[in-house]
């Protein structure tokens, strides 16, 4: 018998009229010691399904479940909340996405961990002897031990800390420890690494796999990232619009997806080491709301292969033949399980593929990357630094004292050619967004100079010249909701820069705004819509239309796709790239998504704690990174096309550890990366490395580069 057996599991939301099915007829099982990943884009119902299995959704929404979900023989659907309270934490535990939000801000970590045991005194209570105090002491000892197991450097000290005193990675570790306090048999992890940097994500995933193996625990990990699933899952379940569309062993799903959606989803993930010559793959349209009435297959409207049958009858999850050679060639590491059933809900499943070797021709080796060296430099940064004062108070007083504060950008120099697509990658706190804001003159650098074309940005004085600069340099932000005025129509938003920066008025203005909507691929009907009526991807198109309204030369795109689903990400990047070709735009594309930037950017700058540590073209960066940090990033980057299986022994404590307080790193002396660097030597402690040319076109700031 499986540990968890879910059959016909449906979650309805009681609406004003008819109930809306957020999750429909889900059936799957999880074995003891198995790692199942549920993958899906936003709106697929994956989180709703998990919360409903825990019976947690009904506390915050009028939701009800039908069907069956047997956990070790106990039906979670039929159980009372009292019974569920007895099961939660003890047999089935859950960790959540935003660790900061998921921990009580006014209770210390220790108290929150101990509380978990107090709900289920059970064995710990008996072994600890009688009395509440005995239980608390036993729980405290266990909590310290678990905090150590999840890799918190000072477990005893951590017990007395409040959540906000820990970094994001440490908070997530503490939450994992909290979930394990009563040794659950099933752990559900809902996007536990989505808010974290890739290097920390890699650590947390490795940790989860290790704990799961050690304890023989079953794990369900929910993620939107195929790459994450590829690294840790035994089996993968793909959800779309509230339905399960495909499930099977991870190698088979990756190598030979049978449902067109799974396949499309995989193809949407940019391939590292493969320059996207023309366009990134996308899925047209958007995910239908799970409650929307659609006859037939939910994916049919977006499917390349849909037939009449697809639009009239909904396909059920049925077994599909296992691809010959795939399952056998690469046996899952957890070979203890019989190769799982392979199920897909599709009338016309994709043909079984042999392991991919197509597309090899487009790899870097052959795709000669045009070196951008010859082109004239357009954007030139010379030793640009930005220091933020320690407090808003001293900031507003214009305190020039160098002591204290944070050096967000430290001595960054780079020149970017006209028409270049320059990627800027780095983890949170690397200063990449600050640099973008400096370039767009939203803030002034503390020292150094920036010039765009023949204009020196810091010497820009006078309304007329600033306006001219604003016409030339525009910016697109990450948050699509926040960057559009919710009370202005799309048309008004798009024409606003024209109104404020040019003399275009009246009909010409409206005509230009409509033309812009067309340029970014939005229907004209959107002209009079409000931002709230649009999806995230559509809003980002609007933001792009607004940015290019005055024919800028340079666009700073600050994480324009990181709030979007992977199928929409490609659409946005394709628009940007088309505009680059058609209008000769120069881009500074800021992102933390390595796969994406490696497949679209001409050159890439890697930032770490305020400094540019490496600059090179994508091919060089992938083949022969010079800076150890670049290599760390590459290794941590989850890539479904070339998965690096996370096993308990893949942890590289030297290179990946120390996700604690990066702000505490002493940046005044030596190399800022030395604490995490596997190649650290004495020189690194005393002398900070300059960005120097290693080979034509490749710059690195390292005393002991990798090649």
């Amino acid at each position: 018998m499986s540990l968890l057996d879910v059959a016909d599991f449906t979650v309805d939301l009681d609406g004003e009229e008819a109930p809306i099915s957020l999750v429909r007829e889900l059936s799957f099982s999880v074995e003891r010691g198995e790692f199942l990943c549920i993958v899906g884009e936003s709106g697929s119902g994956k989180t709703v399904a998990a919360l409903s299995l825990m019976r947690l959704l009904e506390f915050t929404a009028p939701a009800s479940q039908t069907g069956e979900a047997l956990l070790d023989g106990e039906d979670l659907v039929a159980a009372s909340q009292e019974t569920m309270a007895g099961l939660r934490g003890r047999k089935i535990a859950m960790i959540f996405q935003e660790a900061m939000e998921a921990l009580n801000p006014t209770k210390v970590i220790g108290a929150q961990l101990i509380e978990a045991v107090q709900q289920h005194p059970g064995e710990l209570g008996e072994s600890a002897g009688s009395g509440r105090r005995g239980l608390v002491e036993a729980a405290r000892a266990k909590a310290v031990d678990l905090l150590r197991q999840v890799g918190i450097p000072d477990p005893v000290g951590c017990m007395g800390k409040y959540p906000h005193q820990l970094s994001g990675g440490m908070q997530q570790r503490a939450m994992i420890a909290m979930a394990l306090m009563c040794d659950p048999e099933l752990l559900i992890a809902d996007e536990p690494t989505t808010a974290l940097d890739v290097t920390i994500q890699a650590e947390i995933l490795t940790l989860l796999v290790r704990l799961q193996r050690e304890r023989g625990m079953a794990c369900i990990l929910i993620t939107h990232d195929m790459g994450v699933a590829a690294e840790i899952a035994d089996r993968v379940a793909v959800m779309y619009s509230g339905r399960l569309v495909e499930i099977g062993p991870v190698q088979e799903i990756l190598a030979s997806p049978r449902h067109p959606y799974t396949r499309a989803l995989l193809e949407c993930v940019p391939r590292v080491g493969l320059i996207a010559q023309k366009e990134l793959k996308t899925i047209p349209g958007s995910v239908p709301h799970p409650g929307m009435h659609l006859p037939g297959c939910r994916f049919a409207p977006r499917c390349h292969n849909a037939s009449d049958r697809c639009t009239s009858v909904e396909p059920a999850l049925t077994p599909v033949p296992v691809a010959v050679g795939v399952g056998a060639a690469a046996a899952p590491p957890a070979a203890a399980f019989p190769p799982g059933e392979r199920l897909a809900a599709c009338w016309h499943p994709e043909p079984a593929l042999q392991p991919q070797d197509a597309g090899e021709s487009a790899r870097f080796a052959d795709a000669l990357v045009a070196p951008s060296g010859g082109a004239e430099p357009y954007l030139v940064l010379d030793a640009v630094s930005k220091r933020y004062a320690a407090s808003a108070r001293s900031e507003s007083l214009g305190s020039r004292r160098a002591s204290g504060g944070v050096l967000a950008v430290d001595n960054a120099s780079v020149s970017i050619a006209k028409g270049e697509f320059f990627g800027l990658v780095g983890e949170s706190g690397s200063g990449k967004s600050t640099l973008g804001r400096l370039i767009a003159k939203l803030e002034a650098p503390t020292s150094g100079s920036i010039s765009v074309g023949d204009v020196s940005v810091e010497q820009l004085k006078g309304r007329k010249r600033v306006r001219s600069f604003r016409r030339d340099v525009q910016i697109v932000f990450q948050d699509t909701t926040g960057s559009l005025d919710p009370r202005q129509t799309i048309g008004r938003s798009v024409s606003e820069p024209l109104r404020s920066l040019t003399d275009v008025r009246g009909e010409a203005l409206e005509a230009r705004a409509k033309e812009l909507l067309e340029t970014v691929g939005l229907p004209l009907a959107y002209f009079s819509k409000m931002p709230s009526e649009l999806s995230g991807g559509q809003r980002q198109r609007v933001a792009i239309a607004r940015a290019i309204a005055c024919d800028p030369r340079l666009v700073v795109a600050d994480e324009p796709t990181s709030a979007l689903d992977v199928s929409v990400q490609g659409q946005i990047v394709n628009v940007l790239r088309r505009l680059q070709r058609e209008l000769g735009l120069t881009y500074v594309f800021i992102t933390h998504n390595l796969s994406l930037v490696l497949s679209v950017a001409d050159r890439i700058g890697v930032m770490y704690l305020g400094a540019l540590v490496e600059i090179a073209d994508a091919a060089t960066l992938v083949r022969a990174p010079a800076h150890p940090y670049t290599q760390v990033l590459l290794q941590a980057n989850p890539d479904p096309h070339n998965p690096r299986r996370r096993t308990p022994d893949t942890a590289h404590p030297q290179a990946l550890g120390l996700d604690s307080e990066t702000a505490l790193v002493d940046r005044t002396q030596g190399c800022r990366f030395r604490d995490r660097c596997p190649r650290r030597q004495e020189r690194c402690d005393v002398e900070s490395p300059e960005l120097t040319e290693r080979q034509p076109g490749q710059f690195a700031a390292c005393h002991f580069p990798l090649n």
């Binding site: 939660r88 801000p105 709900q119 005193q165």
Partner: protein
């Protein structure tokens, strides 16, 4: 934390200076003067002029102000005319009833408001949750002197179960003392509890959406624990500030209530001071109310620091 206290002490000095100055000039706008009030209707013009001169009231207003301020800085708040003794001991003599009323009603209001607010927030579809908005609006809108008169009419005159005016010292007869405090405290509580329920329900409703409650449930915490151990402490944080600043309203309300129920506290002092033009007494009581208000708010801010670890960092 020491910085906060020092800053508040500085603020207190400024507040006292402004309140005192404002009061000084405002009371001189009231027609009549202490000499007339003191000597009664049959005094001759000479008597009034003599007394006015001996009280220093014939000096130009600004000169009087400078003299008054100089004395205040040296700790001399002047003497009360009606009590014929220094103001400060008079004020301290009358502090107990006022503190009893203000503190008692605040505590009782909080005790009543917490479960009512939690219930309204946790069960938004319940009858109570639907009623809470009109009920609190009524409590807030009702003038306290009107409620006081209604209560006096019902419990004092019609049913004659409770005394309607006067005050008995706790030391002499606790049982009797409580009887005399019931009606005034009920009046104060009606307003304050309504304010607390409205505030706390709002912050509790917001807190109930917090994701850490989901984590608490996920580890098996029952709803009671989720509400009282997790949500309530966080929801109380904004309430601390509201309770602190509402204390000023309570002190203002006490003036009215003490007058209606003839309770010998600061309110009555102030009332008597105004009717007999006892300038020094009026200013003294006002200044003390300002001191209490600032100190209570300082305590509220310090409590906030203790209760919210996130603020404590800086």
């Amino acid at each position: 934390m020491a910085g906060l206290v020092l800053r508040r002490i500085r603020d207190l000095v400024i507040v006292l200076f402004l309140v005192g100055t404002a009061m000084f000039f405002i009371i001189h706008l009231i027609p009549g003067n202490p000499a007339i009030a003191l000597l009664g209707p049959y005094a001759t013009q000479e008597q009034i002029a003599d007394l006015t001169a001996s009280l220093g009231l014939d000096q130009p207003l600004f000169t009087q102000y400078v003299t008054w301020l100089g004395n205040l800085v040296q700790g001399d708040m002047g003497s009360s005319l009606i009590f014929a003794q220094p103001v400060l001991p008079v004020i301290l003599d009358h502090v107990t009833p006022t503190i009893l009323l203000a503190l008692g009603s605040t505590i009782i209001s909080a005790v009543i408001a917490v479960p009512l607010a939690i219930h309204a927030a946790a069960k938004p579809r319940s009858l109570w949750a639907r009623m809470v908005t009109p009920v609190t609006a009524f409590g807030l809108a009702m003038p306290s002197f009107w409620l006081a008169l209604v209560l006096v009419l019902v419990f004092g005159v019609i049913f004659q179960v409770l005394p309607t005016s006067g005050y008995v010292d706790f030391g002499s007869d606790p049982g009797e003392a409580v009887k005399y405090l019931v009606l005034p405290i009920v009046v104060l509580v009606a307003h304050q509890a309504a304010l607390f329920v409205a505030t706390l329900r709002e912050s509790m409703s917001g807190e109930l959406l917090s994701l850490y409650l989901r984590s608490a449930r996920a580890k098996g915490v029952r709803e009671r624990g989720v509400l009282y151990r997790h949500a309530l402490p966080n929801a109380l944080l904004p309430a601390i500030t509201v309770i602190g600043s509402s204390f000023g309203n309570v002190l203002g309300g006490v003036v009215v209530i003490e007058t209606v129920f003839s309770i010998p506290g600061w309110g009555q002092l102030l009332y008597n001071g105004i009717t007999s033009r006892d300038y020094q007494l009026i200013i003294g009581v006002t200044l003390m109310i300002a001191v209490v208000y600032v100190v209570v708010n300082l305590i509220a801010d310090l409590l906030y620091l203790v209760a919210d670890p996130r603020v404590r960092v800086r």
